[in-house]
Amino acid sequence: MTGRGDTETRGRGEEEQPSFSPRRRVAASPRRIAASALWESFRVAFGSLRANKLRAGLTLIGIIVGVSAVIAVVTIIKGLDQTVASTFSSQGSTVFTISKRPQIITSREDFLRFNKRKDVTHDDADAIARLCTLCWRTGLSANVPQATVKHGDEKMDGVTIRGITLSMFDIDAVNLDAGRFWSESEDAAGRDACVVGADIPENLFGGAAPERVVGREVRVAGHLFQIIGVAEKKGKIFGFSRDSLIYIPYTSYQKLYGARDSLVVFIQASSAERLAEVQDQVRSLMRNRRARTFRDADDGFALETQDVFLDLYGKATSNIYIVTVGVAAISLVVGGIVVMNIMLVSVTERTKEIGIRKAVGARQSDILRQFLIEAVTVTAIGGAIGVATGFGLAYLISLLMGFPLLMSVNSAVLGVGVSSIVGIISGLWPAWRAARLHPIDALRAE
């Protein structure tokens, strides 16, 4: 069996024998090469993480801190946005106002121009109520912020006094915890009744239950009002209570605070789809009353939805958000540097292993992929845990500050995705160094 002649005739006939004889090999397809080497890469990655638990843990923490910071910040911002949006549009997207001036004026010229306009009067309000066939509800509302109200010797500051017509309870979607709204006849008779926000029983009546407050009296601007209803609690936004207010009839409001101001007329369409139609009708009606022709660019009044606040809010906060997210993202970059550092250590430590793999046929791309996958595995796991921690943080903060928690799949995918990209970027250089090692030098390493 030792002669060369023998070996020449061997070869194919031996496929079944479990012995080591040179025989023909079947070339594997490139696709299978990718699949089996890829699986090996994952195996090695997890094996390496298991073998270096402390190191893997520290690396994970680096990524977790970064990702959870970003996720928490983004989630909190979304929650705030949602709160603001729902606050400013508590009347829903079906309500708009007619007023002399817009609610937001950005220049002195505009202010002077708007001041020259005619006041919106009760005649205007009546005309809208009478002639606007598409309008569902119309109402009047005016505020005095930061008033002081009293009950006996008790005093309460920072209360908003809101004079409204009866329809505004519907337009503002006010719900009651106790008592009732005033009736039309009470409204017409000018009865001094009021509906109070949930903070009033709390602060002015020593935390009495809403039912026990109904029928008692509260002094507003020296005038006594009987509490006939207590509104449902709305909660806080940015630390400001939305329940520190008292609704009084519009006529009483005018008696207390004067009737010379221009009015703000609230108009509600029956549905959001019909809003534009209703706005058109009111606009043309009001332009008629202001004697505007199609040539006049200016309406002579302001027609606005609550969106103006949202727009302003968006403009004011977007830059703050970018900075906040940016600061959080820096910690993710730091996490990436940690991963790169660890991967460099790992490559140095495993030079011998790289040599062995190269000796048995691993190509540069195999080694590169192995270390890249290892880096990405760490960062993706870190990213997933970071997303969970981030949502957890956001949840705690939302509990403390009282706004809704908006966990989105998008930010979760983004968190894991971004951290994986961080893994690729920070793993690339160490992996490239590993791939470029000369097999002889690598094998010689200890």
Binding site: M1, T2, G3, R4, D6, T7, E8, R10, P18, S19, F20, S21, P22, R23, R25, A28, S29, P30, R32, I33, A34, A35, S36, A37, W39, E40, G47, A51, K352, E353, G355, I356, R357, K358, A359, V360, G361, A362, R363, Q364, S365, D366, H438, P439, I440, L443
Partner: protein, 254 residues
């Protein structure tokens, strides 16, 4: 260059150095080294590790390369194993010209044509015997079922069926070297290249490993053992002695 280095056993008679280069492009021998030089740059100095080495190895040969340390035998082994490329000269293995290959092509040749057995075994410490043996098949792109089957067969052939799920640190030196041999042969390479395969083993185990080599040779494998021990070299059919980067002797023992 001695005549012995040029003599291809089948052709009989020596060739002139000039004639060597005009032979047919693809040599008939399994391994053909033609005027191989390896030069290292050490600062401003050039160090020639190999000075024009030429020899052929036929399929099924059992050859030993012997020489003292610093003789260039490690360099020669690295070249035979396609871990490195020569500075000058041609190296053919199984009809392929390795001397002009790039890194990835060399990796493929190492995977398909060469089975390494090292002095220090060079097994992956965290992997089981089975996984260590599977490694070349992974880089060959073989599917896992087939891979497992082949690796098991390979381990069975070195009598390690009962140690398949053991890690290297749970095995004796001889067992580790047998795992390494199973790994070297699992992809059915053209040559089995052993670098001081018994250097880290005691006498009894060395004997056992050398017997295994003889069995593998009898089964038709081509084996090249690089060693500095005459005892080990004496087990081969043919011994090439290297000194100062040149072939000193090329002798057939059996």
């Amino acid at each position: 260059m001695s005549d012995a280095t040029l003599a291809a056993p089948t052709e009989g008679g020596a060739l002139e150095p000039g004639e060597l280069l005009v032979r047919e492009a693809v040599p008939a021998a399994l391994i053909s080294m033609r005027d191989i030089w390896k030069t290292y740059q050490m600062g401003s100095e050039q160090v020639h590790a190999l000075h024009g080495v030429s020899f052929d190895v036929q399929k099924g040969e059992y050859m030993a390369i012997i020489g003292p340390s610093g003789s260039g035998k490690s360099t020669l082994m690295n070249l035979i194993g396609c871990l490195d490329t020569p500075t000058r000269g041609e190296y053919w293995i199984n009809g392929k010209n390795v001397s002009e290959m790039d890194d990835d092509e060399l990796a493929r040749i190492r995977n398909k044509e060469v089975g390494f057995v090292f002095q220090t075994f060079n097994l992956l410490a965290r992997a089981t015997s089975l996984h260590n043996v599977e490694l070349p098949l992974i880089y060959a792109g073989m599917g896992s079922a087939e891979r497992h089957e082949k690796a098991k067969q390979s381990l069975a052939a070195v009598d390690l069926t009962d140690r398949m799920m053991h890690r290297p640190n749970e095995l004796s030196g001889g067992q580790r070297q047998r795992v390494a041999i199973a790994r070297a042969l699992v992809n059915h390479p053209s040559i089995l290249l052993a670098d001081e395969p018994t250097g880290a083993l005691d006498t009894a185990t060395s004997y056992e490993i050398m017997n295994l080599f003889e069995r593998l040779h009898a089964e038709g494998n081509t084996i090249i053992v690089v060693t500095h021990e005459p005892d080990i070299a004496a087990r081969a059919q043919r011994v090439i002695s290297i000194r100062d980067g040149m072939i000193e002797k090329d002798e057939r023992l059996k």
